[in-house]
Symmetry: C2
Subunit: 332 residues, 2 copies
């Protein structure tokens, strides 16, 4: 079976914002499987903010993506051929399979998934890495008590929407920050947040103040910049800030914290984290999240484009805040 | 016994830097003691950076000092008259007695001190609040392991000098940041730090990089601003930053953190703290510190001016970094 694999590689590193010419679509024949390997046909690719960081060649938590290599990323896929005892053709799986039609794996980091109660694509979002990210930051860093106020930026996104819903389930007041009235309305009406502040309305601090009459006890940071400054000014004593992302600064522009003295005066805890460094907690988190999805207690929204060749535009749109919900690329 | 008490009150709030006319020296007769009270003659006043925060009328961890009230502050004092069963004339004590010749107390928060092994003034510094501050931030937030690198700003000061010495006793590399070659030399030669970087030399980041070849695992922040930015850039993954003070911003000027994204990329813990909120740990800390002083394992330096009327200038000098070691005012 000599088939052609289409794949998107990193062609050049971004100078500032990501552009389409940072990527290149290649074709290559599929190699024979070795013993212990299996091949998957990718069906949906996950597009996530962390990918921007991998495209830089700077000191960060992950090694940079090498030029010429297939763009990294998770996918939900179907096993199409196997010389591995643990995987059989027809199995639904999720793993880090990259931006390509087919991937070869030895099974490390691959998880079989079941679409009986949870749709396959949810394993890339609410019941996958983004969901675990929300679960970890909220429960292990913010650790809110009922009645406290939790704020999350990028509230309509794959992570933010889960943070707010889990906060509500914990008895908290959940307040989102999102861009534009449509996203804000959705965050309140579909995800059940108590309020959502539109940072594009130009009145972020005052609007956030109105939405957090009792101050803020926990902040889940996906964005940085103005959202962080505004929320810092609303923090209550002993507040916790989980720093999950600073998408505002991913292109290299400065995003200073203007009043870090609030960390001292309010005795705040600020903790950066990377969810893949806490794999021991994933089974618990994934189990909780899948159950909540199956029970319809956790809702999610997806933004799906079709065609492998559109993955670069999907990432560029995500980084510009143009997506609405979990960004996926359907390729088969 | 109708005596006159001299006292320094807060006359006005600073507009930016503290000036002498923010204070006023008053005189008033001493009132009779009530049952359960005792009177102390203050001997040494402690001058500390936190006092600057109390002079503002802004939301912070402590209620602002009221205009017209005696300036707050700790002192070591002698009981001169007592209607309290627990205190007798001649007792040496330390407490929050304020900037005045005499104070009246009901004993709350007052501790008897013994100068057999530890000099009285040390109870205002290395074996008092500043020492406990260093102990708490180092052991409870930074929690360094032997072989790690700990950096502290304001390294020649009452808190910073203890941080570095405790870090050395824990088997760490201790690196100070201080202002000027004289302070830096003292930090290395007298306090035993491995290195000290002079921020006034104009090359802070490069000099700090040279002094921290293995990066920085723990940072004890007393200053903020440039010191924080430079040290952030040197942090290792999972580093801890104890935020004890941001003296650089106490007058209201902005001291932004330029690259907060490092908190994420290095998965840092940043924790603000106020030592008086952890009183349960003071007995352990004070015992440890007094023992180390008595054993000559913990050294300290004092800067003493004489005369109650010079307390304002002592605070102004401290806030400008002109003191060298623990700042005290001897008044009797």
């Amino acid at each position: 079976m000599t088939q052609i694999n289409r794949r998107i590689v990193l062609a050049s590193r971004p100078q500032g914002a990501v552009t389409p010419d940072n990527f290149k679509l290649e074709q290559a024949p599929l190699a024979e499987l070795a013993e212990g390997q299996f091949r998957v046909r990718n069906r949906y690719l996950s597009i996530d903010p962390y990918m921007r960081g991998r495209m830089n060649d700077t000191k960060s938590y992950a090694a940079p993506q090498a030029l010429g290599d297939v763009m990294i990323g998770a996918a939900v896929s179907e096993v199409v051929e196997s010389k591995h005892r643990g995987f059989t053709a027809g199995d639904n799986v999720t793993g880090i399979f990259g931006w390509q039609d087919y991937a070869t794996s030895d099974g490390v980091g691959v998880r079989k998934i079941d679409d009986a109660l949870v749709p396959l694509t949810a394993y890339l979002g609410v019941a996958g890495m983004p969901g675990v990210t929300a679960w970890y930051g909220l429960n292990k860093i913010i650790a809110p008590r009922a009645g406290q106020t939790v704020v999350v930026s990028a509230a309509s996104g794959a992570v933010g929407s889960v943070v707010g819903q889990l906060a509500k389930l914990a008895g908290c007041r959940a307040v989102g920050i999102a861009g534009g009235p449509e996203k804000c309305r959705y965050v309140v009406e579909a995800f059940g947040f108590d309020a959502c502040v539109d940072y594009k309305a130009g009145n972020l601090y005052q609007d956030l103040k109105a939405a957090t009459p009792d101050g803020v006890d926990g902040y889940f940071e996906n964005v940085g910049g103005e959202a962080l400054d505004a929320t810092l000014s609303r923090m209550n004593p002993f507040g916790r800030i989980a720093v999950c992302g600073m998408i505002a600064g991913y292109d290299g522009q400065p995003v200073p914290i203007k009043q870090p003295s609030i960390i001292l005066t309010m005795r705040l805890l600020v903790q950066g984290f990377i969810v893949t460094e806490h794999l021991d907690l994933w089974p618990e988190a994934l189990g909780t999240l899948a159950t909540l999805v199956a029970q319809k207690k956790l809702r999610y929204r997806e933004s799906i484009v079709e065609g492998l060749e559109r993955a670069p535009d999907a990432l560029i749109g995500l980084l510009q805040g143009k997506n609405f919900g979990k960004q996926l690329v359907k390729i088969a």
